[in-house]
């Protein structure tokens, strides 16, 4: 029987990271993945990630996937693709379907890194073609280049729902609405805001009660829900859509752990049925580990660190690193994980809805949670929004404590400060002079930074904003300025379009609007 010291199941962010860590130590490792390309779900992620430099912040998911792959390749990590692990048996034996047969492998250690599957909610007609998972929409548009539909209802306002809504818009689809049964937006406010400003309405405390149609979706009926999530009769609304996209969270894909007879439990905080793990990620079956979403739903950034952390324990237990080296590595990975797990959206805060102020003591925007965008009054509580200065300067509409700090690194003049704790809100340092380069605008993964210049143009105020759609406006174009809710505000003229390599496909577009609209105009629609 073929034998390796370490078998990693799944070549996604956690699995690849684990294999890289193990291979670096000199271990004999093999990775199996059922897909025809590695990277797991990273290649569906075309948005910029949060976190800090060490977490690949402001890099797009698929780019992170590419660099992980390059690193694995450089080290000579063996990745078997189109290799479906079918089962885990006694004595850490694994069967793999590859090349038209079933192959048997044994290992001293196994890391299960099989990721997650999407949750679903049932409703009348949810089996009609045209009702799809948000991940399905991503796969179709970002991998296959095919639009999942033309008019789409997004069910779920968590980060997946918000990010996929934005991606649908980028793919040229219309998003009719984002709805959520909860009374508040579940994902990051900045993700909601960038969707809302394109004009997509948010219906919170709403659920989908029916998909209309016979052999394809021809409409969706939504209704308001009461505090017990029951639809309120008489509040039904029919939306003209051809696709209903479900984004109601993920569940660990833990079948292999269960198949291996690891002790399992349904742990809602971890997103579903998971193997019970030691602090190092080991199951009750010695030598079988879980890493990444299969161990508990988090972000790809955490999965990569977890993969390395778990693999470092494997390295230690197989004698490739000393106890001291392990402790150092483990502590640094835990520290990096700790940074990502802070703030209002930390796993420990899952389900909490009692935040009323930020860590800085600023009142949390209720409108952002209820409608997906903030009011000017609410924004005025935040100094980085209220910053005023002659000439060009940033205004930052980042109002929740999320783990992210690329803006701090982006500014060549060091105008923006987040500080050690990366969940703190960015502050504008008045001593430094903004040169209007727009790098902060392009680097903000939440697209929450704008540049404002009230004095340089006699005909109006210049507002620069991030733009990731086609066609890209050109200087001199005339169109409509939109508010944070996507409502038309006034006429706008494009005065500048910056698009450099370092901005990584996020164009920084500048429009001129009359002075009275400087606090309301935040987006642009071509005529």
């Amino acid at each position: 029987m073929k034998r390796h010291e370490l078998i990693v199941i799944g070549a996604g962010p956690a699995g690849l990271s684990a294999a890289i860590e193990a291979k670096k130590s000199g271990m004999d490792v093999i990775v199996f993945d059922e897909n025809s390309r590695p990277g797991g779900q990273l290649f569906k992620q075309i948005h910029k990630f949060f976190g800090s430099k060490e977490h690949h912040a402001k890099e797009r998911g698929f780019k992170i996937g590419e660099s992980l792959l390059a690193e694995a390749e450089e080290l000579g990590v063996k990745v078997e693709l189109n290799a479906t692990v079918m089962g885990i048996y006694e004595n850490k034996e694994v069967t793999v379907k590859m090349n038209g047969e079933v192959d048997h492998f044994k290992a001293d250690k196994i890391i299960i890194a099989t990721g997650a599957a999407e949750n679903m909610i049932p409703f009348k007609g949810w089996n009609i073609p045209g009702v799809i998972g948000a991940g399905a929409a991503q796969a179709m548009m970002n991998l296959q280049g095919v639009k999942p539909g033309s008019k789409i209802l997004m069910v779920g306002s968590g980060n997946v729902g918000l990010v996929v809504s934005f991606q649908l818009l980028q793919a040229g689809c219309e998003v009719a609405a984002v709805i959520d049964a909860a009374p508040r937006v579940g994902g990051y406010g900045v993700h909601a805001a960038k969707v809302a400003r394109t004009g997509v309405p948010f219906y919170l405390s709403h659920t989908v009660i029916e998909a209309k149609g016979t052999d394809h979706v021809s409409g969706a009926v939504i209704a308001e829900v009461d505090s017990h999530f029951q639809p309120i009769p008489g509040t039904e609304k029919e939306l003209d859509v051809d696709t209903i996209c479900i984004a109601v969270g993920l569940s660990p894909m833990s079948q292999l752990a269960s198949n291996a007879k690891c002790d399992m439990a349904l742990i809602p905080q971890k997103g579903g049925n998971v193997a019970l793990l030691s602090e190092y990620g080991e199951t009750n079956i010695k030598g079988i580990y879980c890493a990444g979403d299969v161990a508990g739903i988090e972000e790809a950034s955490s999965a990569m660190i977890q993969g390395r952390s778990v693999a470092s324990h494997v390295c230690y237990s197989l004698g490739y690193i000393t106890e001291e080296e392990f402790n150092t590595k483990y502590d640094s990975y835990q520290e990096a994980l700790g940074k990502l797990r802070m703030g209002m959206f930390a796993p420990a805060n899952k389900g909490r809805n009692d935040f009323t102020v930020t860590d800085e003591g600023y009142p949390i925007s209720k409108n952002l949670l209820a409608k997906g965008y903030m009011t000017e009054e609410e924004l005025e509580n935040f100094p980085a929004y209220n910053y005023k200065k002659a000439g060009v300067h940033p205004i930052i509409e980042c109002t929740q404590n999320i783990p992210c700090n690329p803006c701090q690194d982006a500014c060549p003049k060091k105008c923006i400060k987040v500080g050690e704790n990366i969940t703190m809100l960015p502050q504008i340092d008045e001593e430094q002079g903004c040169i209007g380069c727009g790098l902060c605008v392009a680097s903000c993964s939440g697209q929450a930074i704008f540049l404002m210049d009230e004095t340089s143009d006699p005909d109006g105020v210049l507002i620069s904003f991030p733009y990731e759609f086609l066609p890209l406006p050109e200087v001199g174009d005339k169109g409509t300025a939109l508010s944070r809710s996507g409502a038309p505000v006034c006429e706008a003229v494009i005065t500048d379009v910056k698009k450099t390599k370092v901005m990584d496909k996020t164009a920084v577009v500048t429009m001129r609007v009359p002075h009275e609209f400087k606090n309301s105009a935040r987006f642009y629609k071509p005529v």
């Binding site: 006694e90 004595n91 069967t95």
Partner: protein, 377 residues
């Protein structure tokens, strides 16, 4: 509500024997509690390939099978109000070699001797019954009155009817032992405290031996792994129960369309795994190779799961169904050796008579006593 801890009968084991006997005893007006360690039907009851077979059975237990096929199975779905998916379309046992033919002829001779309608047929006759077979098949034994049913639905159907008739089932309770009071088996000790019955029926599959040991009763029964693979649903191809002389696999196509095919790798008896229902990496490929020899047309049919279960394999491959004389009040039914499902509806009749009248009169089970095991010399 006061928790129920006493009854006329305490049944240890919520498998098909326990559920069906609880049903029959409740029908006779007895108050019954069934204790189950895990879930209803978790052991061999829900882990078998559903054969309702008389052919190739030892004459000592054949009566149970023939009685069940003649009197119970045909109307069981109506009786339980649950479709048990019983199909009586025959059992065919296939042979590829002369050696296979000898095995089949031997079984056939034994069964015809005790009055069962079994005969040898040619390969072509076999292909007439089931046109999907390989041309390599040279002969088969054929028992037209055999069939198959859905063990999951049968077990849970008995359970449901027993509930309807007032039986209390308590699951998640592990039996630690049986205690005698004034010379009679009365108390069932569990990790959840004591339960008391006028009589106790022990039908806990392999665990029965450990529990019987607590009152000094033993039987030569050991645990053996059995594995089954289940395929995706396919268009309806055949109704018959299948077996092969070489023993590579057995099973049927279910009403649902999936093939349910059991078998082994030949290494089962010495598995290192004794704690979990865990499949072995060699078994499914082995069953698959067996299938390919007889039914090459199933090549592209996809396996969707495999599972393992345990036989409570008795030394003479026959069950022990008896009242224990030395321990009055204790009745046992275990050691079914992997072919208890088909006879279970009849076993429960024998058990209900044993427990209420002291003797099984409808079906002769006199050769299945607990004291039949003797030393070799």
């Amino acid at each position: 509500m006061i928790e129920k801890r006493t009854a006329d009968v305490i049944i240890i084991g919520g498998g098909i024997m326990g559920c069906s006997t609880a049903y029959r005893l409740a029908k006779l007006g007895l108050d019954v509690i069934v204790l189950e360690k895990k879930e209803i039907g978790n052991g061999g009851s829900c882990r078998n390939a559903g054969g309702v077979r008389q052919s190739a059975r030892d004459p000592k237990e054949l009566q149970l099978a023939m009685y069940a096929v003649a009197n119970i199975w045909p109307t069981l779905s109506e009786e339980l109000g649950v479709n048990v998916e019983y199909h009586q379309k025959g059992n065919i046992r296939l042979g590829l070699t002369e050696k296979d033919v000898k095995i089949l002829e031997n079984h056939t001779a034994k069964s015809t001797k005790v009055g069962l309608d079994v005969k040898m047929i040619s390969g072509d006759e076999a292909r007439e019954i089931c046109p999907y077979m390989s041309d390599e098949i040279i002969a088969a034994s054929w028992c037209p009155t055999d069939g198959h049913a859905n063990p999951l639905k049968t077990t849970l159907g008995f359970y449901k009817r027993a509930l309807d008739l007032g039986v209390t089932f308590i699951s998640g309770v592990e039996v630690l032992g049986i205690k005698k009071i004034k010379g009679e088996a009365r108390i069932v000790e569990t990790d959840d405290g004591d339960y008391e019955g006028g009589q106790i029926l022990l039908c806990a599959g392999y665990d029965s031996r450990r529990i019987a040991n607590t009152v000094g009763i033993d039987a030569p029964v050991e645990r053996q792994v059995n594995e089954v693979l289940v395929t995706e649903a396919m268009p309806h191809m055949f109704d018959i129960m299948l077996g092969v002389a070489g023993g590579e696999f057995y099973g049927h196509q279910s009403e649902h369309g999936s093939f349910v095919l059991g078998g082994n790798s030949g290494l089962q008896a010495f598995t290192s795994n004794t704690d979990h229902f865990m499949t072995n990496s060699l078994t499914a490929p082995c069953i698959s190779r067996g299938i390919m020899k007889y039914f090459p047309c199933l090549k592209n049919v996809k396996v969707v799961r495999t599972w393992a279960g345990y036989y409570d394999q008795c030394i003479d491959v026959l069950p022990i169904i008896d009242n224990i004389k030395e321990v009055p009040g204790l009745t046992v039914a275990f050691g079914f050796s992997g072919h208890g499902f088909g006879i279970s509806p009849a076993v429960s009749i024998a058990l209900s008579e044993l427990m209420t009248t002291g003797k099984s009169t409808t079906i002769d089970i006199s050769q299945l006593g607990y004291d039949r095991f003797k030393s070799k010399g």
